[in-house]
């Protein structure tokens, strides 16, 4: 009996997801975005688990070649050219995709988790707790994220891990606000009241009845943030947040190396790393747009 109900709930959830995917893939541009993102994710996974497939060795560090340090233009041996000191850009970008996607995913998942939990609890219990949390998010919104990231990274140390922790601290308030708005409206529905009247504990109501219904806008925000965080990580690395581990494969760092050469005519040293970031961010934004339309009940029909 209980098992049947469990299976039923899983089945209904699954059909919901299937329907959402159907609506999502009906839109050409969002399908294209999904394809782009999938290609990037597959590259990152191959990097992580079987790098020889892409011809890579030593994936956590750029391979240097000091016999020919000046950037070489794109050729058959180096499809994207090379950058100083003799780094093959094609391999470097393939390696960098793993680092960038991995850290942006880490940051966004962490921030979403913290934000959802805080927003859920504060909005569910309301009153003074809600007021305090909202004032705290106000404070975080009152500092430009890039400046706050610089400050946190500056005082806590310059490594990619600390940087992503700093970005997590900066990013959770957005999710707290998104979830709060949802919870405040869901709280008033009669099924919550019914659950409360029948003596279900608050924690169970929160996580079983309220939380699943707040997640749609969280997913939309999540996909947009994956794009933004990649840009922010690259930007921070570009302006001098290069971790102590020099020659870390990271797209912002690759553009940073290339800049001095690009103004002297070696344009490919910044063109390809920038394009790699831009295409990923575009794909992710397309996915976010599509997801927002697919999850919008007004447009679903």
């Amino acid at each position: 009996m209980i098992k049947d109900r469990f299976l039923d709930s899983i089945k209904s959830r699954f059909s919901m997801i299937k329907f959402t995917l159907l609506v999502f893939t009906r839109n050409i541009s969002s399908t294209l975005g999904l394809a782009i993102v999938l290609i990037y994710v597959i590259i990152a996974l191959i990097d992580q688990f079987y790098p020889p497939l892409l011809g890579l060795t030593n994936i956590s560090k750029l391979s240097l070649n000091f016999t020919q340090t000046l950037p070489q233009p794109p050729s058959y041996a180096h499809p994207f050219g090379t950058t100083y000191p003799g780094i093959d850009l094609y391999h470097a970008i393939l390696k960098a995709i793993r680092v960038d996607i991995g850290f942006s995913g880490f940051v966004t998942v962490g921030a979403a988790f913290i934000g959802v939990m805080i927003g859920l609890v504060s909005a569910y219990y309301g009153k003074w707790l809600d007021t305090i949390v909202m004032r705290i998010t106000d404070i975080f919104f009152s500092i430009p994220y890039l400046v706050l990231a610089i400050a946190i990274g500056f005082f806590l140390g310059r490594s990619l891990v600390i940087l992503s922790l700093a970005l997590m601290i900066i990013w959770w308030p957005i999710y707290a606000r998104v979830v709060r708005g949802q919870v405040l409206s869901i709280k008033e529905y009669s099924y919550i009241e019914a659950a409360r009247a029948s003596g279900v504990r608050n924690i169970k109501i929160m996580f079983k009845h309220v939380l699943p219904n707040t997640l749609a806008p969280v997913f939309v925000q999540f996909s947009f943030d994956l794009a933004v965080v990649v840009l922010v990580i690259a930007t921070l690395d570009f302006i001098g947040f290069t971790p102590a581990n020099a020659y870390l494969p990271e797209l912002g760092y690759l553009s940073y190396i290339g800049y001095e050469y690009a103004v002297n005519g070696y344009w490919w040293t910044i063109l390809f790393p920038g394009l790699a970031i831009m295409i990923y961010a575009m794909g992710m934004n397309l996915v976010g747009d599509g997801l927002r339309d697919a999850l919008d009940p007004r447009l679903r029909r």
Partner: protein
């Protein structure tokens, strides 16, 4: 009467935000231990232990944290914001702010003006003629605007347009700085005390002294950074304006304006655009925050001597005072921008102040 009480309440609401802001900056600066705080004041020629004891006493680093925070707050109120030592400026933080902040304000205002001039009309057309060719192009521009790394755009634009690059493309705009330094060598407004610059902004100073070549040089130095900066903030304005115009389009007052026989241009200008701008006001604070974040990168890239340039210099030079000063100033700017935006919005939309 209602409006005044709303404004007073809104002003009172920033008090906890200000405390939180200063507290975050304070806690961050203390997180690395007392050595980080006093490192800027150490003289390498005097024994370290001697100086450390004195500096710990002087900066009240021995007391509990909340006492230190109170001392920090009183220092802020008395104009003692610390000391900064970087390659571009050495001296008190307040002095550095006086030098760098005007340039940043100039750059942000220029970018904001470009954003408004380009974003609002394009957004209006885009929402008015949905799915037309202009609309498609506009949407693609907005889309690229949010997906583009701003430093990359800056690099590409300077590669294409800047004169200081070797690349054989369009060499029309200067690459870095605020003004051509060769113009400053034989100026009549340079005295023995250095440059007489009442506002610290070349654009305005040159007008005050009636020096046109310097003025045009300063203006041309502003074009590349301001355009790059504006490109990222145009995107949200475009999107909001488009959605907002599309919403207003079906309202009764638009139909009434048309049935009165008003020319369509007047309907767009008086009825549609004005009402569509109202919701766009709410994201102005957000847009301004985006501008201030972009400023850091843009100024660092174009060697534009503003707050962002100073922040990156402090970052490279391991300078605590600079980082704390920049964070605090940007936070204060944003807090007060949001305050002003909210108050203007309350003036425009009576529903807000009556609490509906």
């Amino acid at each position: 009467m209602r409006l005044y009480s709303y404004i007073i309440m809104r002003i009172l609401m920033i008090v906890p935000t200000l405390f939180g802001l200063t507290f975050i900056v304070f806690i961050l600066s203390r997180a690395g231990g007392p050595n980080v705080v006093i490192s800027a004041y150490i003289n390498p020629h005097i024994p370290y232990a001697l100086q450390k004891a004195q500096l710990m006493r002087e900066f009240h680093l021995n007391g509990p944290l909340w006492v230190q925070y109170l001392y920090y707050l009183s220092g802020l109120l008395h104009g003692d914001w610390g000391y900064t030592k970087t390659g571009v400026y050495s001296g008190p933080v307040t002095g550095a702010i006086a030098v760098f902040l005007p340039n940043t304000i100039q750059l942000s205002i220029a970018a904001f003006v470009i954003t408004a001039i380009v974003g609002i009309p394009l957004g209006t057309i885009s929402g008015y003629k949905k799915d037309s060719f202009t609309d498609q192009v506009t949407r693609i521009i907005a889309f690229i605007g949010i997906s583009l790394p701003i430093f990359w755009l800056a690099q590409m634009l300077s590669l294409a347009f800047a004169t200081n690059t070797v690349s054989p493309y369009l060499n029309v705009l200067p690459l870095d700085g605020t003004v051509n330094p060769f113009l400053l060598t034989n100026l009549n407004w340079v005295s023995s005390q250095g440059l007489s610059s009442p506002t610290h902004v070349m654009l305005i100073d040159s007008i005050i002294h009636g020096d046109l070549p310097v003025f045009f040089s300063a203006l041309s130095h502003l074009v590349l950074p301001a355009t790059t900066l504006a490109f990222t903030t145009i995107a949200p304005i475009l999107r909001y304006m488009r959605a907002s115009v599309a919403e207003v389009l079906n309202q009764d007052f638009v139909r009434i304006g048309r049935s009165k026989g008003l020319p369509e241009k007047l309907v767009i200008k008086r009825y549609i655009r004005r009402n569509a701008l109202l919701p766009v006001m709410t994201i102005m604070g957000l847009v301004f925050a985006g501008l201030l974040a972009g400023v850091v990168v843009i100024e660092a890239l174009f060697d534009y001597p503003g707050m962002g340039y100073w922040a990156v210099q402090s970052l490279i030079n391991y300078n605590t005072g600079g980082i704390m000063g920049v964070t605090l100033v940007f936070g204060l700017i944003l807090v007060f921008t949001n305050l002003v935006v909210d108050i203007i919005y309350a003036f425009l939309d009576p529903r807000i102040r009556t609490g509906e």
